[in-house]
């Protein structure tokens, strides 16, 4: 049986009719057409589906849409301000922090929270902080370089 869920997505109130078993990532992609959030492994490992739920990074393939009812969700589409890329997005661009790009939205959503929590992270802290995000191209060197560069912009 479907029920209505309401949440704030990228700053705007959104309502959808979903089954209890609908995952948050499917609500975002299929009901709200926010396809920037990717489904990679679909088993809570790869982190491609990472979004912010109440301002914290979570894997949207392992949250039910009904669990997000009444809460605030931010996706990769919601982090650029007035058309200006977020500094983390710009750093990934400038440092070529992507190859195929599939993991990139999740990497960026996790990396922004990482840098908020640890303002001047060491490479070791960056790698630990990205433990929940897998790059199947194995392009980690430039991802770490991008996060380091973005953290220096913030400092």
């Amino acid at each position: 049986m479907k029920s209505a869920v309401t949440m704030t997505v990228n700053g705007a109130p959104r309502t959808a009719e979903v089954e209890p078993r609908t995952l948050l990532v499917h609500l975002l992609r299929e009901h709200l057409n926010l396809t920037g959030t990717h489904v990679g492994c679909d088993t809570s490992n790869c982190g491609a589906c990472t979004v912010w739920l109440d301002d914290e990074a979570v894997k949207a393939c392992t949250v039910l849409a009904v669990q997000a009812h009444g809460h605030e969700v931010t996706t990769i589409e919601g982090i650029a301000a007035n058309g200006d890329l977020h500094p983390m997005q710009r750093a990934f661009h400038e440092h070529h922090g992507l190859q195929c790009g599939y993991c990139t939205p999740g990497m960026i959503m996790t990396a922004i929270k990482l840098v908020e929590a640890v303002p001047a992270p060491s490479d070791e802290e960056i790698r630990r902080g990205l433990e929940g995000n897998l790059c199947r191209c194995t392009g980690y060197e430039n991802i770490v370089a991008a996060v380091r560069a973005a953290s220096e912009v913030r400092v």
């Binding site: 209890p20 499917h26 982190g47 990074a57 979570v58 009904v66 669990q67 433990e131 929940g132």
Partner: protein
């Protein structure tokens, strides 16, 4: 992957949640952070008819300093445990174990109560609770009871909680000389083996993860430790163990890990 269809309930109190569990019988499961149950449902390893989501019961969240012990609400997340300065100083075995569970996103959702009630043999927190000699509160339609750690874990994914009982709180003593050490080969993976060590003067309590269907007390190692001999204790850490062999490691490898990690954990706990 999509779970089987289920009915969804979101009670606002523990009493309502327990009532729902009783009325729905064996077909109902409690949903906390969902980071064990939802993956199992997606893989169709679990197919509850009804999910009772206790995530909205905010009274179940938080860490309280109660003097000689901590009272921790069941919905307190791994990230809260790992980030707690209180626990970091006075119960580092719990803070260090929580800091190594899964990955940052998992720690933002997974809860201490969910992890203990799931009782995964490779989960980190059951061994921590056993080493600390902690206890949990279980609330059901017929009342509230306390279950000591030694009586909670019954085997593979099995606890002594009744089907209509909810684990609502965890109590652990302060243990400033304690730590948790685990070993795995891949980022974010489950422990192949792990050791929770709690040192109190001349004595130690040691519990192992990943070497049996439930946490195992390393009793021979505890006896050998008497007086503070970490090396003697570590040499006995695998005595009597019958660990599983699987793709992550053979039984012999797990015995080896039990000894090596026990030494590391005891030395760190003593130095802490």
């Amino acid at each position: 992957m999509i779970p089987r269809e289920f009915a969804y309930e979101r009670p606002e109190s523990v009493a309502d949640a327990a009532g729902l569990l009783r009325s729905h019988g064996d077909g109902a499961r409690v949903l906390a952070g969902g980071h064990s149950l939802l993956p199992m449902m997606k893989l169709r390893l679990a197919a509850p008819e009804t999910l009772v989501d206790i995530g909205g019961i905010s009274s179940l969240r938080g860490i309280t300093d109660a003097g000689s012990y901590f009272e921790i609400g069941a919905l307190t997340r791994h990230a809260d445990l790992a980030g707690s300065d209180l626990l970091g100083l006075a119960c580092p075995v719990l803070a260090s174990a929580a800091a190594g569970i899964g990955d940052p996103q998992v720690r933002n959702r997974g809860t201490i109560g969910g992890s203990l009630a799931q009782a995964d043999p490779h989960g980190d927190l059951p061994a921590v609770l056993v080493a600390l000699d902690g206890e949990v509160t279980a609330e059901g339609p017929d009342g509230t009871r306390t279950i000591p750690a030694r009586d909670l874990f019954r085997g593979f994914l099995t606890t002594s909680l009744a089907a209509d009982e909810i684990l609502t709180a965890v109590r652990v003593p302060k243990a400033p000389h304690s730590t948790y050490v685990k070993f795995n080969r891949r980022a974010q993976d489950w422990a192949i083996a792990g050791v929770a060590a709690v040192v109190d003067g001349d004595s130690a309590r040691i519990a192992l993860t990943g070497v049996g269907a439930a946490p195992v007390r390393a009793e021979a190692a505890e006896r050998a430790f008497w007086g503070g001999n970490a090396a003697e204790a570590a040499a006995r850490a695998a005595d009597g163990l019958d660990p599983p062999s699987d793709a992550a490691g053979s039984a012999d490898y797990r015995r080896h890990l039990a000894r090596v990690l026990t030494l590391r954990a005891l030395e760190e706990a003593i130095g802490g």
